[in-house]
């Protein structure tokens, strides 16, 4: 019952803020949204404390033959953990937005979208079948479009929103095909029935492009492509850094609690199927490890504070997939939850900085803010240390566990992921420290009039920061035992299927040099950053001169956008232009326009006959008579 309240309350809040606003006014609309988010967060935590329950059937949806998807809330540990996290983090972001969006004219619309977004995500995580999951999945995609495009007068926001929507469509296509294939193979889209029949399908094949593939591999890879789109993994990652065009709370919501977590969640949710698809797991491992590394390298050279954090999200999601790929799903979930807290914290703290800096986002124009924004400074420090994986902050526990699991899996791909992961830990620590140092320390490089306006954010924005800061500090330590500790199997129960040969059981048996490696990498990264930006500030410029090619390669994000533009966008535009100029204007418009011209011409001619002359009228009648008579005699 608590789960139901937690899921539906944001929807009610969204309707109040979105639909009822003209009646109840701006403040009541925002208040409605906030109140229902508080209800949702409370219910979400109560549901988590209440423990696992049987799925709650709400309503039947459609019934077509054997295809009978229901609206059912799944209430196993995986769903409950996600519900609690999503509703809590989203509630904090809602509260923060009161302050952040105080000067925005259409703030109720913003709150309506945010609540709707939360609802879609909650519907996704409580889905009991693939279709309901897809409903939430697409709902998240839709609202993310609306939110990224919240400032719809800005062309950059339009472009970013369209990009997010289209790139997600690519993944969603594969996901939808995967769902259809699942139904085709299993005859059901209900999770319980799919999972129960995985063993029976293990030996079956599926013919694709004339070759026989194991059917579970095909399904798993299709579903994973969907997850790649949603969770911004390599090749489908291009939308995520651009998505920060929306207001900062949105970035926090998209990057932390919702949306991008959906892909990881789905892979974990489908663990019984993924486990039966070893090739797909290797693909997940490789993509995850590579994404972590790729995004880490790009993050090192960016200058926009939100963009750097955005690439860190991409990178951290790569870690989660790396964990899922080696079968350590609980570790992936552990990192997901930790990441939700510290990433929301980082974004909200960044938002606080941007707010203070009169909407400036370039870290080269910041500096020395520590004294002016003490609370934000402290919270940013917490978030940065968590992201960099420094104990006792949460990121340390989960990143360590991920790399340990990858090492223990000991397959060539897992070791590839491990190697990249350790190196990425260095990169992560470096760019996190870089952002932190450039923003808060040294001389302030902002223009004078901006400097004068710098002020600490209001309390309504700081309180959520403090709560999230506590999360970033404590979530790793507090959740570790249950999530990945000795009794993890008891905690997750049947909601996550951990294979017998997964590294989960032996996490504690990691060699000590492996356990120390990420931390060492992190400390080295921080040391490099301190060298670059405190001790020898001339060094970065010199290095970027020295390695100009590499620097530009990284600055341009490995040229992915340019490649896609050349490979996909431009040919598509050319095709569209052809379809428009020829297909639409010439054929589709031309034919009816021609017919219309023909009709009006005919009309003019007919009207001309109507001269008013009675003799002509009589003549036409007689012609008609003669015509009929002739026809008659001729036909006979």
């Amino acid at each position: 019952m608590y789960t139901l309240i937690a899921v539906l309350a944001p929807l009610v809040g969204s309707l109040i803020a979105g639909v009822a606003r003209p009646v109840i006014g701006r403040h009541a609309a925002i208040a409605g949204s906030i109140v229902f988010m508080l209800v949702s967060a409370g219910a979400g935590i109560l549901a988590q404390l209440g423990g696992v329950q049987a799925p709650l059937h709400i309503a039947s949806w459609i019934s077509v033959g054997s295809f009978t998807p229901d609206w059912t809330l799944r209430q196993d540990e995986l769903s409950l953990a996600m519900v609690a996290m999503v509703s809590l983090v989203s509630m904090l972001i809602h509260v923060y937005s009161i302050g952040y969006m105080a000067h925005d004219k259409t703030a109720p619309r913003f709150f309506a979208y945010m609540s709707l977004f939360t609802f879609a995500m909650l519907a996704l995580v409580t889905a009991n079948n693939l279709l309901q999951l897809f409903f939430g999945w697409e709902g998240v995609g839709l609202v993310s479009y609306l939110l990224i495009n919240y400032w719809y007068e800005r062309p950059a926001a339009n472009a970013a929103a369209i990009k997010a929507f289209i790139v997600n469509r690519v993944g969603d296509l594969a996901f939808a095909v995967g769902i259809a294939l699942t139904y085709f193979v299993f005859g059901s889209i209900s999770f319980d029935q799919i999972f129960a029949n995985v063993a029976a399908q293990a030996a079956n094949g599926y013919t694709l492009f004339g070759t026989q593939f194991p059917v579970l591999e095909v399904i798993a890879i299709l579903l994973f492509i969907g997850a790649m789109g949603k969770s911004a993994q390599l090749f489908l990652h291009t939308w995520l850094p651009d998505a920060m065009e929306g207001p900062t709370p949105i970035s926090a919501l998209i990057h932390a609690a919702t949306m991008v977590a959906a892909g990881v969640f789905m892979v974990v949710r489908m663990s019984p199927v993924i486990n039966a698809a070893p090739v797909a797991m290797e693909v997940i491992t490789v993509i995850g490890g590579t994404t972590a590394f790729f995004a880490g390298t790009v993050g090192c050279v960016q200058n926009d504070i939100k963009r750097i954090i955005a690439y860190s999200t991409c990178s951290q999601l790569g870690y989660m997939f790396l964990a899922a790929g080696v079968g350590a799903y609980p570790v992936a979930m552990f990192h997901l939850i930790n990441h939700a807290f510290f990433k929301a914290l980082l974004f909200l703290a960044a938002g606080s900085v941007i707010h203070a800096m009169s909407d400036e986002q370039d870290i080269r124009l910041m500096g020395g803010l520590a004294r002016k924004l003490p609370v934000t400074w402290l919270m940013m420090l917490f978030g940065s240390l968590a992201l960099a994986g420094i104990p006792p902050f949460s990121g340390y526990y989960s990143k360590d566990a991920i790399l340990g699991a990858a090492f223990l899996a000991h397959t060539p791909v897992a070791l590839y992921g491990w190697g990249l992961g350790v190196f990425t830990a260095l990169l992560t620590a470096f760019y996190t420290a870089r952002v932190f140092l450039l923003t808060f320390h040294g001389q302030c490089r902002a223009p004078k009039h901006v400097q004068e306006h710098v002020h600490e954010s209001p309390l309504v924005m700081l309180v959520p920061l403090l709560v999230l800061g506590a999360g970033a500090l404590g979530s790793g330590y507090l959740l570790r035992d249950n999530f990945i500790g000795a009794n993890f199997a008891q905690f997750w129960g049947p909601s996550i299927n951990v294979a017998a040969n997964s590294p989960m059981g032996a996490l504690d048996a990691v060699p000590s040099w492996v356990a120390m490696a990420p931390l060492a990498a992190g400390i080295i990264g921080i040391a490099i950053a301190i060298t670059f930006y405190v001790l020898a500030p001339a060094l970065p410029a010199a290095l970027s001169q020295q390695f100009g090619g590499l620097y530009r390669f990284l600055l341009n994000k490995w040229y992915f956008d340019e490649l896609y533009d050349w490979l996909l966008v431009r040919p598509a535009l050319r095709l569209a232009k052809f379809a428009w100029r020829f297909g639409d204007e010439q054929v589709i418009d031309g034919v009816p326009n021609g017919l219309a011209t023909l009709t009006t011409d005919a009309s003019t001619q007919t009207v001309k006959l109507q001269t008013g002359s009675i003799a002509l009228y009589a003549f036409i009648m007689l012609i008609g008579l003669l015509g009929f008579l002739s026809l008659f005699l001729w036909v006979r």
Binding site: T600, T606, Y617, A618, G624
Partner: protein, 472 residues
Amino acid sequence: MTSLLPILPALLLGLGAMALLIVGVLAKPEPAGFTTWGAIVLLVAAALVSCAAPDTLLFHGLLKTSLFTRFADALVYTAAVAALLLALDYNRKEGIARFEYPILVLLGVLGMVVMISAADLMTLYIGFELQSLALYIAAALARDSVRSTEAGLKYFVLGALASGLLVYGISLVYGFTGTTSFAALAGLLGANIGYGAVIGLVFVIVGLAFKISAAPFHMWTPDVYEGAPTSVTALFGTAPKAAAMALFLSVMTGPFGHLLAQWQMIIEILAIISMALGALAAIGQTNIKRLMAYSSIGHMGYALMGLAAGTEAGIQATLIYVAIYVVMSFGAFACIIAMRRRGQAVEKISDLAGLAAQRPGFAFAMALFMWAMAGIPPLSGFFGKLYVFSAALNAGLVTLVIIGIITSVISAFYYLRVIKVMYFDAGAPDFDAVPASVNFVMAVGAAVTALFILLPAPLITAASAAAKALMG
């Protein structure tokens, strides 16, 4: 009394007209209102009596009453009552409130009733002439207006020509068969078809086609519709069309029923030309009355599709179509009559601009009639088209149906344009207050048009029974 009952409606109309005429001549001042209400009472009484009349042959087979004639009579009575209600206020404001008009309408209706019940070519012709003569005069009712007198004259000259063609055709048929009785003709023409009788049939068809203004015998229609006072146009658009179409049906399926193979093609061509002309020529019109003239030509084309099918379902479809058309038509004319600015009747389509903002109810009613005439579901006009199209399709007349669909697409343009002008064009019509009688007709028309879909069964079953009675 029983033997008199079938003819009683006609007697009521005829004798009542005479009585009203006497009152009108003697009473001072001119009792136009009294004669109008008197005529309405007589029409209602005649309608009630005719409902009670039994099926029979009268006067040695000159007249015949059946479910079919009662169906057509009911349509004519309804249309005539509506036209009189519309004339009540309009004629007074136009200064043509003469007591003769209702009497002319009564005599015209008498002619129509005789025409509908005709079971002999002679009674057919007498009824035909009686109603024509009454309508010629009605067209020129505004005798001080050049347009009205011109309309009356044009109608009369061309009508005389059509009448001549009709009576010539009748004489040919009589000359080659030796009889004018429908029943006897049916028997004779079934066995042996002479050239002469068939040529006579063509002449008869032309005469009837003129009356329903089917192209190419429609030339009078736009001019007369525009020139005649609008109240008279409203009558022209409804009652005579229904009566003439009923006559068309009974002549074609009765005496000439066995010649289906001969006349089917002519009816098809009539239908095609009418539909095409109705659709095309209306596009260029700026006067709403002329628009309605072309629209009625097109509608008669669609109604003829049912006849062209030549089946019982086709007859039923035509009857349904005509009934629905009559209602849409008097509704639309009620709207046109309500177009009056500072005491002056206006007739331009552009005069309607901005109506929706000022008079939403009026504009919506007009929009309903236009949508219905364009055949857009769920309004009644759609079902009319549906029935004729399906009847024609079942009779294998695929080409006809395709042309019908194309022309209805084209005609949708000008119907929707009227709606566009009312709802989207800027303007301030500032129409005068609509009199109650006109509002009543408009409301009834709109209600029937819009709500037909809820209760179509009475009309459908009645039309089915009428068609069955006609086809035997």
